[in-house]
Symmetry: C2
Subunit: 502 residues, 2 copies
């Protein structure tokens, strides 16, 4: 009688080993860093420079409602140019919470943003994908679905996002409906909101209310959306419309100057940071005019610009230094901050992609970044997302999570006993401690001998990534959603789709 | 008259752009980090554990001369086991200098080891190379020559080394002659010494004396050699013979336990570091019995071990954490430290190689490592050196050098004027500051558009690396050496070669 059961047990164990259920990593609570690159005077200097920019040069709000709001609030408004005194600015941002909880529809996936905490969020907005066979082609909705699924199954991807790729097969007015619906139904992790238009933002809030309830959304954070400032010194109407929708709904935005150091900002890290801080804080101050106390995130997207071709450069040193400074400034202002990382200008998930990806992440985590965007998949200067690189990057996030979690408490006396017992020339493979404290292993990292690697097909990391992406997608399990919620979501989308395509 | 000159000038300028003379980077003086992961009590705990290991378990010196030396010095010697009291140990290592100058035969290439300084040294001892066409084959002397040449031409490689690959076409007794001769003549940067045998070490010192002069070598450091401890707790005769030769000659060694965390040490970072600190300090203490005041370097080579296959794992989190702790302990003992980095288990210069390489370097630099070995080229868990990866890694070293050099002083007031002049919606590409402060550029990093990249042959980083390696080797310029020195070196090698092959 026991034989078949045993075999079934073994088969199940084999299946479980081959397709293990994801073990979700919680919010990363950093024990390594942050690095303070500047002394207190250095921080003060950049703060003063940022305040001086807003007071003297000012910043453009290319939006009549925002200009009227600023005038009412007492700022110096001339045409589209708004000049904000430092006392007014510091007073406005003082109501932004130092941290907040970002709720998922599955409470086990809820994360914390701010302080010592870091979370990883998906790539955003790529018009191209590098498919499972490596082919580059325009992104489609099916790809967005796939990257939501990969995000759902990933151990370390806290926020599968809202726009992992730009689905070019869907008409623009309907994209946000498809994407928010997919993000809410294919994952049970936290999502972002659409910022395509005021309508898109409103629809996003409405769909979040269907899932979380109106009252809950008004009192809790269930969305965090990405708004870019046009560096230097321009907030445009589309972004400000979305900002008003989300701030009114008590939902934070990542207020993010898009920085090409040396082009949109000075090449100087200190000067560049002064400028982008001014821009982000101006947006943040405006959000508090809309709804005082609404959480907001100081955002940056920093890359260098090639002095040879004008192309963006990722993984280079100056943006890394700028990230360290931005982190320090965010701590000075006591607000959460967001940055970008894990990206590369490479057109292939190759050696360069590996360097650039890692080199762009280390300074961001060392700077103490709270909300880390583009954590997996980007190639081609953020224009493409590669399936192979996505899953490889996701495995790298686990590595980073482990490293930055730091040391565990150890009983050194017990270890000294082990060392005495093992003695000169022995080994520790069999000790209880080793068995109970396995080292972190990246299952996509190949450490076999050359001969074994060759015998198994000499698979480079790109090939391994594509195989793994396919395996995960084949084994994707959709998280359950109450039938009434799902029905209401479907109905909302159907109604709006008909409206927008009319 | 001016036309031909102009054309000649232009041709020269084009040639200079295509094959620019190397601009050598000085010793990296770190302004970022180091990160202190442990509090003072944490440091004290690991110190106590290391001392307890040496006092109670002790360490084996498998060498009769060393055992006699230890007995005379007052240690507890039983068979090959030496137990060293903490007062004795701390007293012995107190004479090790906190830093030293490592002289090159060209004074412009001289570097500093210790304190805030970091230097990059070449890969070491690989039995295989991955050739310019990617083929893997046994290493030969011609490869060692090539990696010396690449090291000489590299901006950031401070020490081209002594054994970048293991030349399998040269009989073992003659290898050190060929390698030391090549390192001294093909480069004018600092070198390492051979540790193959007592004879090899003596010959190395003799050849250094030919180039630097006997008196200079006795009073200055011109070599730094790599000695591995057999973790756990064994120093063997071959290593100790070389240690005696070098210490007698006032030349430091990198006293380096070879750590497979979870196998040769406990899987615990704290426990592992306590063990390897004990081992390295025991070797260092012994060196001071040989010659008090001789510089020495606390060395580590740390990788993880796969719990699945037993293979070494590089770029994983725990060795990174261990590196941070070792750095802190080296500062506690006030001695320079050496670590290993830029390595990978990958069998190809692929995405994995890029991640692992970067991920193994960041913690080493963040820990404040002074002497950084294997800084370019390693694949296959240190069994192979790739030409393509070597030059790509070398470019990465420039990146790291720039980042860890930190911020330059800036005139923020001048930048504020620029920002006011550029204004909202403008750009900074043309400002004086941008022109005078170009961002760091890695010329091997491809940031072109997909279309341009494809039109130019869709070269992945491996291909770019191989082309660049060939270009550098084709343009290698041998540094001059006085004719009498060269003659004496040649004569010494010829005489010894005849002797050893007899």
């Amino acid at each position: 009688m026991s034989e078949p059961r045993k075999r079934g047990g073994r088969a199940n164990r084999v299946a479980a080993r081959t397709n293990p259920a994801p073990v979700y990593l919680p919010t990363l609570n950093r024990a390594v860093g942050p690095i303070d690159l500047l002394g207190p005077e250095g921080v003060e200097k950049i703060h003063n420079a940022a305040m001086t920019i807003l007071e003297t040069t000012g910043i453009e709000f290319r939006d009549p409602i925002a200009l009227a709001d600023w005038k009412r609030a007492g700022a110096d408004v001339q045409g589209e140019r708004v000049r904000i005194g430092r006392d007014m600015l510091m007073d406005l941002i003082s109501s932004v919470p130092e941290s907040y909880t970002l709720h998922a529809r599955n409470g086990d996936r809820t994360v914390d943003v701010g302080g010592k905490n870091s979370i990883f969020a998906n790539a955003y907005g790529a018009p191209f994908v590098y498919d499972l066979d490596g082919t580059r082609r325009p992104s489609q909705l099916a790809d967005a679905h796939n990257f939501f699924k990969l995000g759902q199954m990933s151990q370390a991807m806290h926020v599968p996002g809202i726009l992992p790729v730009e689905p070019q097969d869907i008409p623009v007015p309907e994209r946000h409906l498809e994407l928010v619906h997919a993000a809410l139904t294919l994952t049970d992790k936290p999502i972002k909101g659409s910022v395509l238009s005021e309508t898109a933002a409103r629809d996003t809030v409405k769909m979040a209310q269907i899932v979380f309830g109106e009252e809950f959304v008004d009192q809790n954070v269930v969305l965090t959306s990405l708004l870019n400032c046009n560096t230097p010194l321009v907030w445009d109407e589309t972004m400000l419309e979305s900002l008003r929708v989300y701030a009114s709904a008590n939902q934070p935005c990542l207020l993010s100057p898009f920085v090409l150091a040396g082009a949109s900002t000075p090449a100087s890290p200190q000067g560049g940071v002064a400028l982008l801080i001014a821009e982000s804080l101006a947006g943040m101050a405006y959000s508090q005019i809309i709804r005082k106390g609404c959480p907001m995130v100081l955002g940056v997207a920093i890359m260098g610009v090639s002095m040879k071709t004008g192309a963006p450069m990722m993984g280079s040193p100056e943006p890394g230094l700028m990230n360290l400074i931005v982190g320090q400034m965010a701590r000075f202002y006591k607000v959460p901050w967001r940055s970008c990382t894990m990206w590369t200008g490479s057109k292939s998930p190759d050696l360069q992609a590996g360097y650039d990806t890692a080199n762009s992440m280390w300074p961001v985590l060392l700077g103490g970044c709270n909300y880390i965007v583009h954590s997996a998949g980007f190639l081609e200067g953020a224009l493409g997302v590669s399936y192979a690189k996505w899953v490889q990057d996701s495995a790298q996030l686990e590595n980073f999570h482990r490293f930055f979690t730091g040391l565990q408490e150890e009983n050194l006396d017990a270890l000294l006993d082990d060392i005495a017992n093992v003695g000169p020339g022995g080994h520790f493979l069999g000790t209880d401690h080793t068995r109970e404290h396995p080292l972190h292993m990246n299952m996509l990292q190949n450490n076999d001998s050359f001969e074994q690697w060759e015998a198994e097909g000499a698979k480079i990391a790109e090939v391994v990534g594509n195989i793994e992406a396919k395996r995960i997608l084949d084994n994707y399990v959709q998280p359950p959603m109450p039938v009434d919620q799902r029905g209401a979501l479907d109905e909302f989308v159907a109604k709006k789709r008909a409206e927008y395509s009319a």
